[in-house]
């Protein structure tokens, strides 16, 4: 470690990282646009100016992102000269910026807006016409570019080159005519385009999916883990008014995904906005499935399980460790072996993050003794059984909703977000989905990813851990058919 004096305080810093990293690590708030901790620093936006004194030489104002730290360096981030240089730089950056914050999706989380608010002068000095450029240039299916807002920091260009290693963006033309562009305006390709909207420090690159969907300050952000593959990228789930999940965004996790996530994970957020949900539960009555309370449903489920022996228990690959333990306990009571549906690998596997394995908690479930079953195998076992218990998000869908509904032999007890229509369905209990529950998943490397409650479950729906435990205790007190 290297010792430097940062704003009068001696601190230990990483010698391999640029000065700006040391500043941020020790609470000095140096602004940045072109610098991103995950990308090669280029020192082009010039906003991160700080005053540095080394040895006997007079103090200099330098860009912190391109300055290596050195033993004994004296750094003043708030020196008047540094401040003045940053303020000047900000004025130039705002010269052609359209200041359309009121209609900009980035407003509220925009680095340029934040720093202009903190440091900028109330009124601009320029009365020149602002640059007129394309305000909605499509860069493919994911991203739309507003050339007027762009401050040409080149983070997006470097992201494409350095992270997915599929260079597709460049800065075209020179000087004040520069714009971000793809070759011959071809659409962007690849599974990592969504990150461009995250790395963009202003509102130039925005997600088509999120465009005009919400003001970001109205979004409630909860930490969570992506369930799209067994990587389990750390994410933030952002919910508008306790209803719609507006977006998933990657959350920095050095051990898993750094700052990034893939598009299939990012846009899986849309799946969590289903209008129709099973709430709280349903049981088979005289007129087919009838909505009932959870307790009534569980009582009927216990009756069914008592009446029929050799239950087959199939879990969902989305079960958290906590849910899986409750499910395993129920299996124990029933004398069944816990298993989960393991869908085939997707074609999305890549070198960066996506593992192609659609089971986010495979490792956790296997460590708890679960057996991984291909959907066809799981279905075959259920079809041959007298009674089956299905538990977890999408457990029905993964085996084929239509096929399960057509089964007439086994009585099925389902814990899923959606009910199962069909002759075999006996009891369906609504459960919270991924963004409505807390728990943990173990990713392929053994890293534990946490889920927290980002949105309340539909009224009356109880956590799966609790409903499974209630059913197990009902069976334990009254015995099970063996």
């Amino acid at each position: 470690m290297t010792k430097i004096i940062l704003n009068g305080r001696e601190v230990d810093v990483d010698p391999k990282q640029p000065l700006i990293h040391a500043c941020h690590a020790h609470g000095a708030d140096v602004p940045m646009y072109c610098y991103h901790p995950g990308l090669t620093p280029v020192g082009s936006c010039r906003i991160c100016q700080v005053e540095v004194k080394q040895g006997e030489a007079p103090a200099r104002v330098v860009v912190a992102c391109r300055t290596p730290v050195a033993e004994g360096m004296i750094v003043e981030t708030e020196a008047p000269r540094a401040h003045e240089t940053r303020r000047e730089c900000l004025e130039f950056l705002l010269k052609n910026h359209p200041l359309d914050c009121p209609i900009c999706d980035k407003a509220g989380e925009c680095d340029l807006q934040d720093y202009a608010f903190a440091e900028g002068q109330g009124e601009g000095r320029s009365n020149e016409p602002r640059r007129k450029l394309d305000k909605r240039k499509s860069l493919g299916e994911v991203i739309v570019l507003d050339e007027e807002r762009c401050i040409l920091c080149s983070r997006c260009v470097r992201f494409m080159e350095e992270i997915p290693k599929t260079p597709q963006l460049t800065i075209a033309d020179l000087g004040s005519r520069s714009t971000i562009s793809t070759f011959m305006d071809q659409p962007l390709r690849g599974n990592y385009q969504g990150n461009l909207a995250d790395v963009c420090p202003v509102g130039a690159l925005t997600l088509k999916q999120f465009r005009f969907q919400a003001r970001v300050w109205n979004l409630k952000k909860s930490l969570s883990t992506c369930g799209e593959c067994s990587r389990g990228c750390a994410i933030s789930v952002e919910v508008l008014r306790n209803k719609d999940v507006k977006r998933f965004r990657p959350r920095y996790d050095p051990a898993v995904n750094q700052w990034w996530m893939c598009d299939s994970g990012r846009f899986s957020s849309a799946r969590h906005n289903a209008e129709e949900r099973l709430a709280p539960a349903a049981r088979r009555g005289a007129q087919g499935l009838e909505i009932c309370s959870v307790d009534e449903a569980l009582a009927q489920a216990a009756d069914t399980l008592r009446a029929r022996a050799n239950a087959v228990c199939i879990g969902s690959p989305f079960l958290t460790l906590e849910e899986a333990k409750a499910f395993a306990a129920l299996c124990g009571t029933l004398g069944a072996k816990p298993a989960f549906v393991s869908p085939p690998a997707t074609a999305l596997k890549d070198e960066l993050l996506n593992t192609g394995d659609p089971c986010p908690n495979r490792r956790g479930l296997l460590e708890l003794g679960f057996e991984a079953l291909e959907p066809a195998e799981a279905f075959a076992r259920l079809a041959a059984a007298a009674v089956g218990v299905l538990a977890g998000e999408r457990v029905i869908e993964l085996q084929g909703r239509g096929e399960l509904a057509a089964l007439e032999g086994p009585r099925l007890i389902c814990f899923d977000t959606h009910g199962l229509e069909g002759a075999g369905a006996d009891v369906c209990v609504g459960i919270p989905e991924q963004v409505e529950k807390s728990g943990s998943w173990v990713n392929l490397d053994g890293h534990v990813g946490k889920l927290t409650i980002a949105r309340a479950a539909p009224a009356g729906v109880e956590p799966l851990t609790r409903t499974l435990a209630s059913l197990a205790s009902l069976l334990a007190t009254s015995g099970v058919a063996r």
């Binding site: 280029v42 082009s44 010039r46 130039f92 320029s126 000087g175 004040s176």
Partner: protein
């Protein structure tokens, strides 16, 4: 032209056919390299000789050449490949001296480049020629072919163990590719975006290897120093700026052109004796001493000697010694509108200050010139220029746009105020207008 000073740079260039190997060799070309290789003059000796001569770079910054060469790492400790790149991307408005050398004496230039390569133990020389310089490119390329055939370029030059290859590269017209790191990026096939320094080219240059970039005229001096010695070289010029230099004069003079003169000759002498005075018997108003990036000087400073320190003391820079002379009828605002337009057009666009600032300066100059200026615009030009320089950006293009702006307001503020008060250019009859240059877009 004046014959009262000793000359050496363009002596051979004046001979008919000197661009061919036969004629050039008859008049002394390649003698210095032969001498080095035959007499076994060591690398360090050559560098020391150039250091002793006091030769300073002719590309604009005036950095001591011998010192620059000595920055290259010791090849024993650092065995990486190393390169010499010759900056022949002469694009500064007003400058046209390297063109003369390349067109008329390409062999003298190549010999200098090879001596530089020898001193720095480089085996490859790149010559980056401005795209518009078609004849200079052809002359140098032909000279390379001839010299290669004669065993002067290539493996084991003149039977020695010194091998060096020369590759030519044609630029595509960007001013910024004359900045040394922009030039290196361009040579590597990328956009000519200057690199942040450090790391410096001597440690991390072309393809990450040790590289030195020299101007054409700089290396062109080397053979003369090798043959005639450092003392001879120092006998010309001034103490701080030794030797002769090529002064390119353009503008309102009777005889514009490229002239060889020792450092220290006064600008008045250049104007009156060498260039035959102002055209049409007009009065001198002002002049750029060294190209459009150097601040303009008023007529009262015409007695300033043409050498680094004296010009620096006036607040301007020697630059490439490309004098642009303007007569009494020249509108300073108009002149700087044109200069600002150039820098807006040529800014690479990496740094915020330069990308936005060059455009902003141009817009303000344009407004003032065309009668839409405000008094506060004049101070704004000053504060904006101070926000752009010095040393606030990756390269010096931002400075090059800011320095002439600060200079013209320092010396000709009244003219700006007059434009604003009249709401038109006072150099035009009332009621007429100049054509508006479109922006750089």
């Amino acid at each position: 032209m004046s014959t009262k000073y000793p000359t050496y740079l363009l002596d051979r260039a004046k001979i008919e056919g000197a661009h061919t190997l036969a004629v050039a060799q008859k008049h002394g070309a390649w003698e210095a390299l032969r001498k080095i290789l035959k007499d076994g003059i060591g690398f360090a000796q050559v560098i020391q000789l150039v250091k002793d001569s006091g030769l300073r770079g002719r590309g604009g910054a005036g950095f001591p050449t011998g010192m620059k060469w000595s920055f290259m790492p010791d090849p024993v400790k650092d065995p990486r490949p190393r390169y010499v790149a010759i900056n022949a991307d002469e694009s500064e408005p007003g400058t046209c001296k390297d063109r003369v050398i390349m067109e008329l004496d390409p062999h003298g230039f190549l010999e200098g480049a090879l001596i530089a390569a020898y001193a720095m133990r480089a085996q490859v020389v790149y010559v980056y020629v401005r795209g518009e310089y078609r004849l200079p490119y052809k002359r140098v390329a032909d000279a390379v072919a001839e010299a290669r055939k004669a065993g002067l370029i290539g493996k084991n030059i003149l039977g020695s163990d010194f091998s060096c290859e020369v590759y030519m590269h044609q630029g595509a017209g960007a001013y910024i590719c004359g900045e040394e790191t922009g030039l290196m990026e361009s040579l590597e096939g990328k956009r000519g975006h200057p690199r942040p320094k450090p790391p410096f080219p001597a440690m991390f240059g072309l393809w990450g290897q040790p590289t030195t970039v020299n101007n054409v005229e700089t290396v062109f001096n080397a053979p003369f120093i090798v043959l005639r010695g450092a003392e001879w070289f120092k006998s010309m010029g001034t103490k701080g700026s030794t030797g002769n230099l090529l002064v390119g004069v353009s503008g309102h003079v009777n005889k514009p052109g490229v002239y060889e003169l020792p450092f220290g000759v006064s600008c008045r002498e250049i104007l009156e004796d060498v260039c035959g005075g102002m055209w049409k018997h007009k009065q001198l108003k002002s002049f750029f001493p060294g190209g459009s990036s150097t601040g303009v000087l008023p007529a009262s400073l015409i007695d300033t000697p043409m050498e680094h320190d004296a010009i620096k003391n006036t607040g301007s820079m020697l630059g490439t010694a490309a004098m642009i002379v303007m007569d009494e009828d020249t509108c300073m605002v108009r002149a700087h509108e044109i200069v600002a337009r150039f820098y807006e057009h040529e800014s690479c666009g990496q740094c915020s200050q330069c990308r936005e600032g060059t455009q902003w300066l141009h817009q303000i100059f344009q407004r003032i010139e065309h009668g839409h200026g405000r008094l506060e615009d004049i101070d704004m030009l000053v504060t904006l220029s101070k926000g752009m320089a010095p040393g606030k950006t990756i390269c010096a293009l931002s400075d090059a746009a800011a320095i002439p702006t600060l200079a013209v307001i320092k010396h000709f503020r009244g003219e700006f105020e007059e434009h604003v008060k009249l709401a038109r250019c006072p150099f035009l009859p009332a009621g007429t207008q100049r054509p508006v240059f479109a922006g750089a877009h």
